[in-house]
Amino acid sequence: MNVLNAVFVAPFLDMADSPAFFFEVVIGGMMTGVMYSLVALGFVLIFKASSVFNFAQGVFALFAAMTLVGLMTGTVPFALDKALPGMPAFVAIVLTGVVMVGLAFLVERVVLRPMVNQDHIIMFMSTIGIAFVLEGFGDLMWGSDVKLLDIGIPTGSFFFLDMMIQVFDLWAAGIAGVLVLSLAVFFQKTRTGRALRAVADDHQAALSVGIPLKSIWVIVWSVAGIVALVAGIMWGSKSGVQFSLSLIALRALPVLILGGFTSVPGAIVGGLIIGVGEKVAEVYWGPLVNGAIETWFAYVLALVFLLFRPQGLFGEKIIERV
């Protein structure tokens, strides 16, 4: 009886007792969820256009953040003891964007092109290979110590209706919103965006109406690289640029299966659900089991959703024919 009470009744009473705290938790969760969405977006873009499950997305974010820090502090690649004058954040961000586009070219040229038409699992493994290479390369180039990233996003907190709100989180949500909006415009309103959607729908049909698959892949991987850069900036300024940054990919995976591998809105909504669910569970149910349930709760939550909708909330219905 006590156990049942502790699991099913007491947490809800706590919530009702101090609604302000509950909403604070929910909002905090939503903010984290937005950050998850940023990472999940990169996965979705690539999966939609090339059916590649890009495990390297987290490492992309890490690499982008490292490059950005390196440029801003004026570190000379491969020669860590020398220093150049650093450059302003804006220039550094643009330059890092260029680096990410270059990386996309390289990946398409070296990895994707020779592997056209391979099994999904083979492509997946090769992106793990990319992750290894990039991780080693990034550490070699910029050093593996923990770095601080500060591009001038204001921090601090204020109280709104008794709820403590972090200014940084608001900025993160705002930036994510702008990013999603511009992606939506890019996909819906531009010629390239239309071509991207065509490729996502059907590779062969897209090819047969004259859409160049190769350049589309480069574009998609570049866009994913830029998204990784944004994610890297946000996570990097929040918790420092270090190896563990690449592990956010693992945190974004439940978001991905919850929202569906092929849906951009799914990545956003999934991120919010996971973020909120995780925080609420950690705060209200975590103490029952000594805490730290954040590592797996998201997966279980996503699994429960999956049992009812195997393709995720917004994924395309999987139609199978014999």
């Binding site: 699992i121 493994m125 793990i128 080693g136 390369f137 070699l140 693992l250 590592t295 996503a302």
Partner: protein, 358 residues
């Protein structure tokens, strides 16, 4: 010329359906196993046993397990590390709770426990497929590691939270614990590997294996011609977990001696074993061994070459090791996506026709 099956008649059904129908294959395998069992223990050093041979053998078992699931039944799993942790914890609990129990029995029981856990985590596979399933199996990985870390009962309430294998004997020979001779551990491992590999080979070429392969190739079609997908997939999950669990138990008992489960069996283990299966060859027994040897040996070779051969600093060498490891994996996937076992297959075909290829 050397490798030709002309003149090898199969007068009985038994000889026709033998594991190695070609005499040359049979003799090479027997000779190789005999070499490993009889010759190697006499000249092997402790380093050779503890750092190379025993890990390769243990990972071979894990790779066979994952290969049964992914290569033969087509269910992608990223929970291998978690299942190895189950095996290790079960082995620890059984051997400390029942000191009289024979180590072989302990290992088998660990496998059975892991099979049960695998069965539970295999249930979603009926509804979820492909990468969705792969991500779902990650839930097993994270949940199990969290569980073993949080609940002190699994560690017998030791304050450090590490599992330390007590010394145990098999037939009067000390096998586990710090005092055990490396070559004894190695021989025990080898025996386990031979038995388990033979069993796996016979499973996959029988009706069970055919059902798995039918499910792998197209599950709906398999269902239509009468295979039951739920039972078949669950069987694959549990048999696979049995192997992986024994590998985890062996890793604790014979290789590492004392482990912290969350550290030793983390997500990287899952990826490592998956690499072994894919680099070696999906759906190939030989591939599991080649893959295990390749993935265990490559970092050792890379480190030795770079630190001792080229004089790099250890940290720099570590970074280069990452780059080379990733690069080699991409290279192998591009050159031969069906794994190294496939190269061996092609070489054998060539050898059959040699020296007159037309």
């Amino acid at each position: 010329m050397i490798y030709r099956e002309t003149g090898q008649f199969k007068p009985t059904y038994q000889s026709d359906s033998a594991v190695f129908p070609i005499a040359q294959d049979r003799w090479v395998v027997i000779a190789f196993v005999a070499f490993l069992a009889v010759v190697v223990p006499f000249f092997g050093s402790e380093y050779l046993f503890q750092a190379i041979l025993v890990p390769v053998l243990i990972y071979s078992i894990a790779a066979i397990g994952l290969n049964l699931l992914t290569g033969y039944c087509g269910q992608l799993s990223l929970g291998t590390g978690g299942f190895m942790a189950v095996g290790a914890v079960a082995c620890y609990k059984f051997s400390t709770a029942f000191p009289e129990m024979n180590l072989v029995v302990v290992l088998l029981l660990s496998g059975v426990v892991t099979a049960g856990v695998g069965l539970i985590f295999g249930v979603p596979s009926l509804r979820i497929k492909g990468f969705y399933l792969a991500v779902a199996t990650l839930a097993a990985q994270f949940f199990l590691n969290w569980l073993f870390n949080k609940i002190a009962w699994f560690q017998n309430y030791t304050p450090s939270g590490t599992l330390t294998m007590p010394p145990r004997e098999v037939f009067g020979v000390l096998i586990t614990g710090a005092a055990a001779q490396p070559h004894h551990r190695y021989l025990f491992c080898l025996a386990m590997v031979v038995i388990l590999a033979l069993a796996a080979t016979n499973i996959v070429r029988g009706p069970v294996g055919r059902a798995w392969m039918a499910i792998r190739d197209m599950d709906i079609a398999a269902e239509l011609i009468g295979f039951r997908p739920f039972q078949t997939k669950l069987l694959a999950f549990s048999v696979s977990s049995f192997y992986v669990g024994i590998a985890g138990a062996l890793a604790l008992a014979l290789w590492l001696g004392s482990v912290e489960t969350a550290e030793a069996f983390d997500i990287n283990q899952s990826f490592q074993v998956l690499f072994m299966v894919i680099i070696g060859g999906l759906g190939s027994m030989l591939g599991s061994f080649i893959g295990a040897a390749f993935i265990v040996l490559m970092p050792i070779v890379l480190t030795n070459v770079m630190v001792y051969g080229l004089g790099f600093e250890a940290v720099t060498a570590k970074h280069f090791e990452f780059i080379f490891f990733g690069g080699l994996i991409i290279f192998f996937l591009i050159v031969e996506p069906h794994g190294i076992a496939r190269l061996w297959q092609i070489a054998k075909e060539k050898l059959r026709l040699w020296p007159f290829p037309h």
